[in-house]
Assembly symmetry: C2
């Protein structure tokens, strides 16, 4: 059975890397002693080694080893043999480009559908959706497609930000951007605030963390969903 | 001789559409009684007619007529016959998709290089650069390429925003995003704050408006450039 943890962010303000979500990660990866880390999103352009070390340090607190996918000669085999997968945040365009380049889209989808637990933060959460068309990232590289893993039947907007009523900036708010998305697409979009995550078990989806999430459906008024909401109705 | 006005935004806080830049537009389009408007970026998903009416109202104050490119049977011919061009802001991904779909990239580049004055705001300014890879927009549609008009030899980041020192949000700042761009690309990026614009005459580029702009060069510390700076050194 499919098992995912889809988090808005790796880090909440004032806490260390993954710190806020460690208790949940311990439960989620129960019985797993080593996970495969996908560092392709390279936040700030850091190297795969640097990023993997960060993930390794984060997971060492709950006694889980981390191996970077770049440490394997054959990344497809690495995914096939993984007991758990973690895709970190960074730039979604670069992440998706590398997933296509390394022919990993189908194999990740398959192993996760067969029950290998998948944890994503930010860009790593974006790619669990139908497309990456609701990322906040800058298009610094051109990926061969915006289609992503479609492990859930809706899109994620991570780091969801409410409009600032005092802002004098004329650039679009996040809500305006997602509404523009719905002029061209029908896929539901869940705005996940920092500190929120989704727990997916098969077709059951629950919102976790302390905050409500904001749901955008095409041609509907956006809705605030309280924490612990059952979001399974978003799965086809 | 190439003649462009490349503005960060159409509207500054507290003023009407184009109001802040009308005196400059009057000079820029001196002798031109009708311009061609490209409404493809559809801000907020509004229709081409709605958007063209907005532009028409804005330009009526300086007695310039506006025709939408969608009002012509053949958009390529419309560009060839235009006496001036204005591309409005909105979503850069949709704008670029439509420019490719309608085979307009080359013809716009040619007429502008031959002296037809071009005015862009926001997304319409983004596309004057080498690529659209430094847009702030959400990738709501998949364009066939991120390459744009390359009428200037650098990229624009419109609506440039300084980091908020009090923010508790963990999403990337604009500066972080542009630095990530430079991990994968060498093109110079000019962060144009709202109310700033560039005036281009041939290979001469000057920063206008009241604010400084922020210049990002690959592997260099970002630089603040005061208004009225000569930026011609960015042209090859």
């Amino acid at each position: 059975m499919k098992k995912l943890l889809i988090a808005s962010t790796s880090t909440v303000h004032g806490k260390g890397y993954l710190e806020y979500i460690l208790p949940e990660l311990k439960l989620f990866f129960d019985g797993v002693s080593e996970i495969l880390f996908i560092p392709y999103a390279r936040p700030g352009g850091i190297t795969y080694d640097e990023y993997t070390n960060t993930a390794r340090k984060g997971f060492s607190v709950i006694n889980i080893d981390v191996k970077g996918i770049h440490e394997f000669e054959n990344p497809i085999e690495a995914v096939k043999k993984a007991k758990g997968i973690f895709t970190g945040g960074g730039n979604t365009f670069e992440l998706v480009s590398q997933l296509y380049k390394n022919k990993l889209i189908d194999v990740i989808k398959t192993v996760v559908e067969n029950g290998i637990p998948y944890f994503g933060t930010s860009a790593g959460s974006n790619i669990t959706g139908v497309t990456m068309k609701t990322t906040n990232d800058m298009p610094i590289v051109y990926p061969p497609s915006f289609d992503t893993l479609n492990l859930i039947d809706f899109n994620i907007n991570p780091h969801y930000l409410d409009p600032d009523p005092n802002s004098k900036h004329m650039g679009e708010t996040r809500e305006t951007r997602i509404k523009e998305f719905h002029k061209f697409n029908d896929t539901a979009v869940l705005g996940l605030r920092e500190g929120s995550w989704l727990r997916v078990d098969g077709n059951q989806v629950y919102l976790r963390g302390e905050l409500p999430a904001r749901l955008f459906l095409s041609n509907k008024t956006p809705q605030e969903l309280p924490t612990n909401s059952n979001l399974s109705f978003l799965m086809n």
